[in-house]
């Protein structure tokens, strides 16, 4: 049982970790771009991101399911880099789509909260556009970390989407949340509770980190 617990938790962390990494690599630059640059279609993109931030994860799961299923628009292409359904790769894709709008949206808000005067003054000191954007991003660093933590919280505890696209296959795609559902149904409360406590601990740590960081950003 301990091995099972270990394996399930490990897979959860690997899937969520990879999804979070990719969401951050895409979401942070996207947030900076949206926060600092005016381009045609910006308002539309922001509206889409706000929608994505509140989108029911299970619907995203359904969408990814339809896309990846063997007769779906992506699944039917049989390309090696498109993961088939019921694999960890499919779960990673669903989690990226869930976490990306959160990372991008919160990063954008943090960047927009930095006084525009600061960017101008940094420019006057001789910064390139890129250097100035980096300066703004590092002023907004607390908010950026908060955006990543929020992304983590949203996908580590998500159950509907990973259940749909992963299929909760033992030893392959069974993660903490789906295992809890299954073990509880089976009446195997011991494992369910252990997983539940672990998950709770992780969310708690993430939220604690977030609160500490937010507290630091408040004026002393």
């Amino acid at each position: 049982m301990d091995v099972e617990l270990f394996n399930i938790t490990g897979l959860s962390l690997r899937v969520t970790g990879l999804a979070l990494l990719i969401s951050s690599l895409l979401g942070i630059p996207a947030g900076v771009l949206l926060g600092l640059k005016n381009f045609p279609g910006r308002r539309l993109v922001i509206a889409l991101i706000y929608t994505g931030m509140g989108f029911p994860p299970v619907v995203i799961g359904l969408l990814v399911y339809l896309l990846l299923s063997r007769s779906g628009p992506l699944g039917s292409l049989h390309l090696s880099f498109i993961p088939p359904l019921f694999t960890p790769g499919a779960m990673v894709i669903a989690q990226i789509i869930i976490a990306f709008p959160l990372v991008a949206g919160f990063t954008m808000a943090a960047v927009m909260a930095v006084d525009p005067q600061l960017r101008q003054q940094v420019r006057a000191l001789g910064a390139t556009q890129g250097q100035a954007a980096w300066a703004v991003l590092s002023e907004a660093r607390v908010g950026v970390v908060v955006s990543v933590v929020a992304g983590f919280g949203s996908i580590i505890s998500e159950v509907g989407a990973v259940m749909l696209v992963g299929g909760n296959i033992e030893g392959k795609t069974r993660v903490m949340t789906t295992a809890i559902v299954l073990e509880t149904r089976k009446g195997n409360f011991e494992l369910a509770i252990a997983l539940g406590l672990l998950l709770l601990g992780m969310s708690f740590l993430a939220n604690l980190a977030m609160m500490r960081l937010q507290g630091r950003s408040l004026p002393q």
């Binding site: 006084d115 005067q117 600061l118 101008q120 003054q121 940094v122 420019r123 006057a124 000191l125 001789g126 910064a127 390139t128 556009q129 250097q131 300066a135 590092s138 002023e139 002393q220």
Partner: protein, 243 residues
Amino acid sequence: MKPPVYRLTGVEKRYGQRCVLRVEQLEVEAGRILALVGPSGAGKSTLLRLLNFLERPDAGQIEFEGQPIPNNGEVDLNLLRKVTTVFQQPRLLDRSVVDNVHYGLRLRGIKDAKAEVEAVLDRLGLKPLVHQRARTLSGGEAQRVALARALVLQPEVLLLDEPTANLDPYHVGLIEEVITEANRQQGTTMVLVTHNIFQARRLADRVAFLLNGSIVEVAEKEDFFTWPQDPRTQAFIQGDMVY
């Protein structure tokens, strides 16, 4: 005589429908201090933003060292780095004082300039504050750090927007000394925005009077204060309200 650093012709700046600046003609001479005086809202800070290429004119032309600057598109980085501004409301980075002063040099890829940074900090009486978080500085301290981070770059042109507004008389004296020093020793061209007629008298070589976005009068300091040509300049010098 050297050609002027800046030559402005017919320069206009609009915000929305409103034209806040209309400068028919203005030259900033190399190595000299031009004081820009005028009431609040006259467009002084706006003019400095144009001179630092942070904003671009909606009409007219700015020439820098004889080169016309296009009114749109990205300004050449080498050009941008010849000029810097000490802003009316300095925004420092959320780092230590010394990091703030180092910052502009780092942007230029200069990593070890400890001696230069320390010299500037020392000159402005900031030595005891080097490791303090910039956010926790008083208004006057922040203003001195803003001057330090500009001076350390040894720019060709230094634009100063009310650099002594938050300071006590001792530090006003100190900053005026440092400004004069940089001008005399390094030949830095300066445009100094000030509300303070006496400061303009103490520091400037030439004075321009800006009112409602237009330059009413530009003259050598002595002429400006002794024989002002325009009645509005006379009134301003005498401390009357002008609108």
